[in-house]
Symmetry: C2
Subunit: 448 residues, 2 copies
Amino acid sequence: MPRRIVIIGAHAAGVDAASAARKTDRTADITLVTEEKHCGYSRCGLPFVIGGQIPSFPSLIVFLPSYFQMMKLNLKTETKATSIDTTNKTVEATDKNGKTEAIPYDSLIISTGASSFMPPIKGKEKQGIYSLRTLEDGEKIDAAIKKGGKTAVVMGAGLIGLETAIALKERGLKVTVIEMLPQILPQMLDPDLAKGAQEMLEQKGINIQTGKPVEEILGAEKATGVLAGGQQFDGDLIVSAFGVRANTQLAANAGIALGDTKAIKTNARMETSVKDVYAVGDCAESTHIVTQKPTLMQFGTVAVRHGKVSGINAAGGYALFTGVLGSSVSRLYETDVGSTGLTDGAAQRARIETVTGTITSKTKADYYPGALPIKVKLVVEKESQRIIGAQIIGGEEVTQRINAISFAIQKQMTARELAKADTAYAPPVCETWEPLVLAAEMVMMKLR
Amino acid sequence: MPRRIVIIGAHAAGVDAASAARKTDRTADITLVTEEKHCGYSRCGLPFVIGGQIPSFPSLIVFLPSYFQMMKLNLKTETKATSIDTTNKTVEATDKNGKTEAIPYDSLIISTGASSFMPPIKGKEKQGIYSLRTLEDGEKIDAAIKKGGKTAVVMGAGLIGLETAIALKERGLKVTVIEMLPQILPQMLDPDLAKGAQEMLEQKGINIQTGKPVEEILGAEKATGVLAGGQQFDGDLIVSAFGVRANTQLAANAGIALGDTKAIKTNARMETSVKDVYAVGDCAESTHIVTQKPTLMQFGTVAVRHGKVSGINAAGGYALFTGVLGSSVSRLYETDVGSTGLTDGAAQRARIETVTGTITSKTKADYYPGALPIKVKLVVEKESQRIIGAQIIGGEEVTQRINAISFAIQKQMTARELAKADTAYAPPVCETWEPLVLAAEMVMMKLR
């Protein structure tokens, strides 16, 4: 009898799990169950459809029905997994017609993702509060703009909040971003670098209000504004971008252990506490490469890597997940903002003694027209001199500088080694002394 | 008495040596001797002045007289160092007025650079053969174009040859590039990747003739064409881009040892065979990080790194040079071509058994408008699975991908580790699965 692999969820993690499972076991019976109508699309692309850079929401669908057919995957859309029986190894699921079945599995992969989170704020039940997690969310925001929305208040200055704010501004709305913390992008940046990013956004005309916790959502039945830090901000569109929470209820109900981060606990094979059950993507923990502690990194790149490892294992292979650094990047207008490893703040919280080096440089030779500014902050563990984090804000080639530091952290490169690294140079693409090298040099000066 | 440091040469290596020496010893007496009128300019920028991207040749001067004043460096231009007396520790130099002096030193740094090389071809003494090494060379080519040159033949398809060919084409000339070897960019690329770069240049209208050794330079007194591979190519401008040779005569005459590469032999402190004499930049050998053998990498980035190490040591400090990988990049029209470590060909010649992985991907998410093609080739040592080289051709972020692989090679990252690396992602700047990771994956598949 062919191996039966059931996957709950059919986005980045789920589909990559299915693909890896198929490549590992050509004869397995692989079923994906998702309550959504649309699956296999890129959530990360949603703000760019609203902003107008990408022509339509369906453009974001990366895995078309033909893909599932080609890979011989059974796809059950609009089918909700309601419970898992880990003893009898079945998943109970109900389709849109109300028909319930128990789907048997040999291996189960839980990729239930995460959902937009709304804190217990007064008025949070009001109508017309938008979020941006699903394709349908995106369509609703788009419709509200088309209906004549002129002003927007975005609650939360994380990546999704800022990308949504920019998209709304691109569509001509007057946009205010409200953030409880004293800085934007608190997961990615230390306050010093966040300040520069915030100023850039303000120069583009986005009103950013940091240090203002949202106290109430205002309006009669429909949300028409927010009260934050004692101040009133009105908006035709009120957008909730407080972040997401892992969808763990299904797993928890089945007795599968959650971890310190409240996401599903996993080991390096992406196995949960229950045999033959894996968890991947936004609902699953990973190990942080620097701290070696459980962490929750809800990124598309982590999801696909999780998915692949779980798919190989679920299909009888053997693969290990080597951990995360939280490498991430976003293009905010013409400026790329990237981060990997620990911020200095996160390092302090992990009780790691640090030295940092921050430099400002250019993306091309000084004499080459069009050179753009770039700022690099390196975070180094003082005792070992190892690089443990980097934040970069700049006009070009930020993503791959983040990747370069990610590799350096993974391979325990020291600041001294980076200060002496062999780098490539040509006037139209970089300076003779690479900014990453200069930042390492700055760290070495402080360590002397 | 203050320490006397003499530096022969005042370009990238020499000036960075002087700066590092000054920072190490605030009271040293530091003298730079150069036979050139202009110093401290970027040679790498020359093609872009001819091409019109950079407004003028003086724009390329990175170190102005004010810099030398600020750093308290004695700069003797148009002064030729004629001999070194390593016993009495003096450099004999003659200025433009014919005045000769013996300059005493405690530490001597030789940064005599390299000169354009012309092989013993029939007719090589003819007038009107241009090269592109110095600012004056650039001015001559510019003047020849302004005088009405309409066609050009460039001999040599290395980086300088191609960058010059593009610059001439940008100025409206009909350009032919002649290369003896069967491929362009033989130092940087394996034939498979070189083919793609060549096709791109041909599509831009540059006529590239590979596998054609230059047999004769044609013309009466003035060069008007070349005979190559039995075929005649006519040109108003004949450009020699056969590469450069280290300027070692001064060192050799003083009994300073040359190495296997025929450049000046150095150790990790950039010391030559003679005590208190250092050699740096295009005239000096380095150790290759992969082969651990002497190699000659005549790049600006290597020159400044050499210079810095020698300056610290010459001024009484202690610094080590950690070797080279030949990381290099060039923007050819809108395509960036980069390389680091060993090509597969170079690895074969070093008798390293390899596995390679080549993939073609895009620089943005597939659905994001403006995604550009990118091709990555990884070279991996079969037995150790360690990455030893990479070649990348693509539309964006090639330079920092090269740097990322340079760090990976330096830290002995394996293909398996790269295949599992944590990378950053956002639709406008990269794909979910980073091309470097996919290339490593390809290698792993071949290793199975």
